[in-house]
């Protein structure tokens, strides 16, 4: 017999794991961009927001089914990622890293206000309500389970792409040594565009999954964007495995913190944990001490 509190606790733990899946997906995309191009896209969550709007309009206005709209949304955000690299990052590749960071901050403003101007500030949702799965006394929404499953599949697909294809191998090689790879006959410009598109595609996938759980509005990116950066830094920027571990750690802290108090305190705890960890392990969770 489980006590009622234990049931809530277990439910929070499992919900934390489910939340962690999507966060890990976002962190993977951001880490990929950072690891290969050495740029942090501050506007990453805003790409997700645009993808969520894409899903909303395709499903609600054009009457497409969710599963038909999802691949289009993923392609759309992938194209947006490539475009972002081509228009903003490519001219700044040799500039100071801080300038690149600030330029993507400008893109954040542009995307947010573009959404405000084009779509208005109303909260919108797909109108799809997936059923709730009851297991004993615990309740889990199917949308979270689906998100977790799809995020895992997405991450495995990226892993296979990175290890089994020529382009993937070239991407990994560039993240190890930027200068040498150009001498080896790899077209770095092309690889950068591919990587940006892949990062965008991951944001698009996250958008398809998040739109099932959250309403879309122009500032929705602010509710999970900062968390994603913190996860990447906590795991060590560019460290894929570290980002994965950090995503689940963070999700558990938010979920369990929210159990004892309001959700905001979950976030406060997670942020405080982050700052604490920066003191203990400044180079990331899994980094070796030098």
């Amino acid at each position: 017999m489980l006590e009622i509190f234990d049931i809530y606790l277990l439910e929070a733990v499992i919900n934390g794991i489910l939340l962690g899946g999507v966060l890990a997906l976002l962190a993977l995309g951001l880490n990929l961009i950072f690891g290969v191009i050495d740029v942090t896209w501050i506007c990453y969550a805003e790409l997700v927001m645009i993808g969520m709007y894409g899903m909303y309009y395709m499903v609600q206005y054009f009457g497409m089914s969710y599963y038909a709209a999802a691949p289009i949304a993923i392609l759309l955000v992938a194209a947006l990622g490539a475009l972002l690299h081509f228009l903003v990052i490519a001219p700044l590749l040799d500039a100071a890293p801080i300038n690149q960071l600030l330029a993507t901050g400008g893109v954040l403003f542009v995307l947010q206000s573009f959404a405000t101007v084009a779509f208005g500030i109303d909260f919108r949702n797909l109108g799809i309500r997936l059923p709730i799965l009851a297991m004993g006394d615990m309740h889990f929404s199917y949308s979270r389970l689906l998100a977790f499953g799809a995020a895992l599949v997405g991450m495995i697909a990226v892993y296979i792409f990175m290890t089994r294809t020529f382009t993937g191998t070239a991407i990994r090689a560039i993240s190890q040594d930027r200068q040498i790879m150009a001498l080896m006959g790899v077209d770095t410009k092309k690889i950068y565009i591919y990587t940006s598109a892949l990062g965008g595609a991951l944001a698009g996938l996250a958008a398809c999954l998040l739109v099932l759980q959250y309403d879309v509005h122009p500032f929705v990116g602010l509710s999970f964007g900062p968390i994603t950066f913190l996860i990447c830094v906590l795991g060590g920027l560019g460290n894929f495995v570290g980002g994965f571990v950090a995503a689940f750690l963070f999700a558990e802290i938010i979920s369990l913190g929210g159990l004892f108090s309001d959700l905001e305190w979950g976030y406060v705890l997670a942020f405080a944990f982050f700052i604490l960890m920066m003191f203990i392990r400044p180079a990331g969770l899994l980094a070796r001490r030098s």
Binding site: V88, L102, V110, T116, I121, F279, P282
Partner: protein, 321 residues
Amino acid sequence: MNQRHILIAVIGAALVALPFVYRDPYHLHILVLILIWSFAYTSWSVMGRFGLVSLGHGGFMGVGAYVTVLLWNHLGISPWLGIPIALVCAGALALVVAYPCFRFRITGHYFALVTLALSGIVLQVITATRDYTGGSLGYTPERTKGSHILALQFDDKVVWYLIALGVWAAGLLIWHWVDRSMSRYAMEAISEDEDAAAAAGVNVTFEKLRITVISALMTALAGALYGQYQMFISPDTVSGIAVSLQMVFAAVVGGIYVALGPTVGAIITILLAEILRIGFGTKAVGWDNLVYGVLLILFIIFLPKGILGSLLARLKSPTKH
């Protein structure tokens, strides 16, 4: 040099005399806002110019504004005492976050993202403690009737204009003082190469900490003044990531390497927002930020020194070459 001092004195006298000659309340209001935000942007650029890009200044500003108003409303402590307490809080916060950052060599991207976490924390704490702070709906200092020196509440915009002018001038003086001090050379050496700077005898951690705390204190003061002037603060206007980015944006557009750069940035951004607001009314929601964002990207790509910085460089270069 003497000519320059006279010029500064004349401009200063003209700025002080302005509200006694010209009293249009709306224009004075815009001027006060420009001065307060110029001061905030200047305080960001005090550290930003050395490559210490902080996205946590929204947090310091929020602490300055909220601590002052909370002390007044709940404990009845006058802002004259409340503002110093708020400054101490912001300074302590800056120390707590910045010391480990600098000690463990968290620089560049990492520093920007750690400080981003700081603005996130402050925003979430304000929202989470909504029983005291009003949460995301905002918060108003309790009014006293009419002007009240003790409560630091004045109905007369001229008083506020003079206060803001004084604080803004003090901000420029601090900027100038840092620019002329040994700290500047130490900080420039640090931003080029920390190891080399340390080898040359620069106390890297201490120099960075000092500049960060100065910057945080100034920003908190800007937040407190903004709260007292507007008599309304909300997490969106004085805290959080959007405010931090706005500071960076305005400073970069104006130019972070020249003293008046952030002021030029504040004039441009505030006038732009006001013109769009008057021209388009409620339809303007979003348009101002859209223009900001595009400008920011264009500036960083084509004019990384900012408007004023590039202008001054162009004026100077013919004489140099």
